[in-house]
Symmetry: C2
Subunit: 301 residues, 2 copies
DNA sequence: AGGGGATATAAACGATGTCTATGATAAATT
DNA sequence: AATTTATCATAGACATCGTTTATATCCCCT
């Protein structure tokens, strides 16, 4: 009933392949009697003579030949499997599936992805963009390995690692130059045309809530679906955009945008890398997260 | 360098298939810790986590899934191999390849072949006819499992089992009724038209030699290539045929042929079943020979 | 004939895999 | 929320099974 010890097939395969029990023994780092014994076990279990023994080695019998034709296939698959696994281990192969927002991909993850891909060109990178809840469900159903979102996240099933800290702020272009050196109250800010990210963004919800706590209503004149557009519209003078300061570092430096300061500090938020708690990560995902952590720690000093 | 113990793949396959280490343990007649340990070995050897462990069993990881896709194939081939071998053992499958002369096939082997085929319809029967030397080389090159010929055979590489004894004789039809109750000398016989089997037949060579020893030349008027024709020609009165008595038993009994008696006894000869010495027989061949031996022993009393 | 190379056999040994017992954790049940 | 009942993990003792060493046997080749 129970199947034969698979290990015997390995011995059989090598013996048949080399036509010699002694030879097979060498390949297997065993002694010849051990191989002889293994073959005998196979033969006894099957009730079939597999080899013709003669003075210069062994030859497959009719039945042995048939067995070999099957075992050869099996052996090849196992060899392939082991190669593939070795590839995974050395990351010459594999997949890295990340969920996040487009802006985080572009402004936060991109450099990591570039160097990762450079080091491990064999690993395929799959990016899925979506809202935080969408990303969380992707994680839970196993279609992505990790999610990159803005904190805080409170979900007991998730393991969250903190990344760099980001600071949101309001920015404007030259049309609002009058505001360059002023410090506004919330109340005053709401007098200006505001450009916000689309309604379901967490950052937007947070800032709206913050204003409401102070009795202000932050009502956008324009709603956009991409951070790039928020920047572009602000530069063109269409309003004051609410963006992440780190994502507009270039524009702030070159002066095409300036920060509209408020008399209250907007709370900073951190980037979080989410994975499923107690679910092992793929080799590639593990390596990727490690790289991010080391970099971020370095940049945090 | 060295490959992983194949046995671990069996454990892995069943664990993945059932999604439970405990379940796999039951299938393998092992305990759960044993399976747990086996999987751990695989994982450590490969440097890859294969399963996600949770409270209701195990699930394959990304990498585990890839491994499984290979191992599944291998497992299936091994299963097929074991089935096939079981078929060989039970002779639901296999081949029986016999070399011999057409006359022995028809008059000697046919009943055995019939009952064998009846018992083991799954075993394919291949008959190859040829001269004794041809059959011997077929045997030595492995294209047949056994040869059925007239003895004696002297070849140290061959294992020869004796079958039933056959007696050659001269037979004639009604046209030679004058000879029915006479006993001829060799000299006298040669006065009649003789019909012999073709030149390269061993039986013919033997009888020609026998006559020559007595100073007679046995010169055929007709040469034929088939025993059936020898019988037919004799019945039609075209001459006196040299045939095996057992092969014309029916004709002798019904009187359409009668034996032409000589004053010297023609030496009997035995049927021999040849196999290669020290070369294992296929299951089917072994079984077939056994059947013949038992039958022949019975009929020898 | 005899040497060399192959496999077979036997018995002692030892590594490896297996088991028992126990612990930890999470889901299902109450 | 507490309890029960699955699951898998771990540790250490044990025993099996495979391995080795030593020797025999056989066949081929010179």
């Amino acid at each position: 009933m129970s199947m034969i010890n698979f290990e015997l097939y390995k011995v059989f395969y090598l013996a048949a392949k080399s036509g010699s029990l002694s030879q097979a023994a060498k390949s297997l780092f065993l002694t010849q009697p051990s191989v002889s014994h293994a073959i005998k076990q196979l033969e006894e279990h099957m009730g079939v003579t597999l080899f013709t023994r003669n003075a210069r080695g062994v030859t497959l019998t009719q039945e042995g030949n048939v067995l070999f034709s099957y075992i050869e296939q099996a052996y090849n698959f196992i060899s392939l499997a082991e190669e593939k696994m070795a590839e995974f281990k050395s990351m010459d192969s594999g997949e890295l599936r990340i969920g996040g927002s487009d802006s985080l991909f572009k402004h936060y993850l991109l450099p990591y992805l570039e160097t990762f891909h450079e080091h491990y060109p064999g690993v395929g990178i799959h990016l899925t963009h979506g809202t935080t809840p969408e990303i969380i469900s992707s994680l839970k159903e196993g279609s992505i390995d990790l999610g990159v979102v803005r904190l805080p996240i409170i979900d007991p099933q998730l393991e969250v690692k903190e990344g760099i800290q980001l600071q949101d702020c309001f920015v404007a272009g030259s049309r609002f130059n009058e505001l360059r050196d002023r410090v506004l109250t919330m109340e005053q800010l709401t007098q200006y045309p505001i450009i916000l990210f689309s309604r379901n963004s967490r950052a937007r919800m947070a800032v709206t809530e913050l204003f409401r706590e102070q009795g202000c209503e932050l009502k956008p004149e324009i709603e956009l679906g991409s951070v790039d557009l928020l920047i572009e519209f602000a530069r063109k003078g269409l309003g004051i955009s609410f963006v992440t300061r780190e994502f507009v570092a270039k524009e702030l430096e070159e002066g095409s945008l300036f920060e509209v300061k408020l008399d209250v500090a907007l709370p900073p938020s951190k980037v979080g890398i989410m994975t499923l708690r107690h679910i092992p990560l793929s080799i590639a995902a593990k390596a990727f997260i490690e790289r991010i952590e080391q970099q971020d720690i370095g940049s945090r000093t």
